[in-house]
């Protein structure tokens, strides 16, 4: 039997994993996904093998999603029914996605799966990222807020299609009905993407928003339920094979649970377009990072002529730095939105309190006179 490569824990490793976990947690608590796309490469750079990195990442993800979804359920943002239904179909997508990955690996080796992952990343992020960002900008321009959520036209059309025996009612779309036949492929695609690039939410969240008509804040919260179901299934699969390094997973969890709580709190202070802005920007930055890496994979598969090793090294570092930038951007944007929102809220509360006191004083004075 072959030995699994478990990395040695030292102070440096622990601090790096904790910090990356914190930032990744904050982004996923806010936009319902993310974090994983930089955690897996980070673990691999610290010496973990690819499969141990993916397995351990999943083991930290499902408890984080559980805590995040409980927290956001308290704020009334989670549609549990939709999350569970999508989660079940996503689980099927995860297993199919794994089969696809294994097949490509058998045919073209690791370079083949790397190219496949990058290609999926680029296509998905280019379409979804641009769409989400444009929608966020439009909402800001038109001055729409959370309480003025307008169901997208395509979602209205989907909701109008009645297929007898398949209709289900969901609280997140104001108790309207949608056919489960539209939810199944969304869940399946989310799971398949999660198995391929570890960030299923990049499809799940926008699909819930634009196809089913769920408001952005509720879609990001419901995605956490989907992530929990997918993560639990995936972790059981990997744990059965002994690939989960629970030490790594729990150190990341230590940081990410601080972050996920903060991200979830942040959603209660921001406008819907802010969530879309942050999500869209992160997607575009991740897209750039994958584009930088594309020539490396193409040269490994001999589709283009071989690249200079020094150039490959530069492209590797540049790609990783761009990913790190995506997370840091997310952290700064969320922190800024949270601080601004909290300050505004405190000012409003103080003003309301002052008005109440003034009215009370006025009532006492008039009663005395």
């Amino acid at each position: 039997m072959d030995a699994i490569n478990f990395i040695d824990l030292n102070f440096f490793t622990v601090v790096i994993l904790f910090v990356v976990g914190f930032i990744g947690g904050m982004v996923s608590g806010f936009i319902g996904s993310g974090g994983a796309f930089v955690l897996t490469p980070a673990m691999m750079s610290l010496g973990a093998s690819g499969i141990v990195a993916v397995a351990s990442n999943m083991a930290h993800k499902f408890p984080k999603a559980l805590v995040g979804s409980i927290k956001r359920h308290k704020y009334g943002q989670v549609d549990i029914k939709l999350g569970i239904i999508m989660g079940v179909f996503a689980e099927a997508g995860v297993f199919y996605g794994k089969e696809v990955m294994t097949g490509i690996r058998a045919l073209h080796g690791n370079a083949g799966t790397d190219l496949y992952v990058s290609f999926v990343f680029i296509v998905v992020l280019a379409i979804v990222g641009t769409f989400v960002l444009r929608d966020g900008m439009r909402m800001k321009r038109e001055g729409k807020h959370d309480d003025e959520h307008v169901t997208p036209r395509f979602a209205q059309w989907i909701q109008s299609i009645r297929i007898p025996g398949t209709m289900m009612r969901f609280s997140s779309i104001e108790n309207r009905e949608v056919s489960i036949l539209f939810i199944a492929p969304i869940g399946f695609a989310t799971g398949m993407l999660a198995a391929s690039i570890a960030v299923g939410g990049f499809i799940g969240v926008p699909a819930m928003m634009y196809i089913i008509g769920v408001p952005a804040i509720r879609a990001t919260a419901t995605e956490l339920v989907v992530a929990f179901i997918m993560g639990l299934g995936g972790t059981m699969f990997y744990a059965w094979e002994g690939f989960v390094d629970i030490r790594l997973a729990m150190i990341i969890l230590a940081g990410s649970l601080f972050g996920v709580q903060l991200g979830a709190i942040g959603t209660t202070y921001v406008k819907e377009y802010t969530v879309k802005y942050v999500m869209g920007m992160i997607m575009i930055i991740v897209l750039v990072s994958r584009l930088i890496k594309l020539p490396v994979y193409l040269s490994e598969l001999e589709v283009i002529s071989a690249l200079n090793p020094a150039l490959i090294d530069i492209l590797d570092k540049l790609s990783f730095a761009t990913l790190a930038f995506a997370l840091i951007f997310g952290m700064v944007a969320i922190s800024a939105a949270l601080i601004k929102g909290m300050m505004e809220h405190r000012r409003e509360t103080a003003a309301e309190h002052a008005i109440r006191e003034y009215e009370k004083d006025l009532a006492v004075t008039s009663a005395e006179s």
């Binding site: 039997m1 408890p63 805590v67 744990a239 996920v260």
Partner: protein, 105 residues
């Protein structure tokens, strides 16, 4: 009715007088509990992580044994993940609460 009305208004006046004190006491109790909860779950969380550190070699042995075909303890990582998420999750929630970082109500 006529007899009970003054009693009611006396009670109401008494209640109005006592309310700020009771409210103040409850607020103090709540804020003390907030810090105690954060400290309690924090301590529990530290104990869990200390165990993880002391038994870290055993955990890698379990994973290797599972990989080699001995599946008896395959569920250990899942149980650890769930326990840590509940305890550490409660700590982080109370931690931000104690720092005054709360969701908008």
């Amino acid at each position: 009715m006529q007899k009970t009305e003054p009693a009611h208004s006396e009670e109401a006046a008494l209640e109005a007088e006592q309310l700020p004190t009771t409210k103040g006491f409850m607020a103090t109790l709540k804020s003390v509990n907030k810090y105690r909860c954060a400290a309690g779950f924090g301590a529990f969380s530290i104990v869990l992580y200390a165990f993880l550190y002391f038994y870290n070699t055993d955990l890698t042995h379990i994973a290797q044994a599972t990989h080699d075909g001995e599946k008896t303890w395959f569920f250990v990582p899942i149980v650890i993940a769930l326990v840590f998420s509940i305890i550490h999750g409660s700590f982080t929630s109370h931690f931000w609460d104690a720092l005054g970082v709360k969701a908008k109500s």
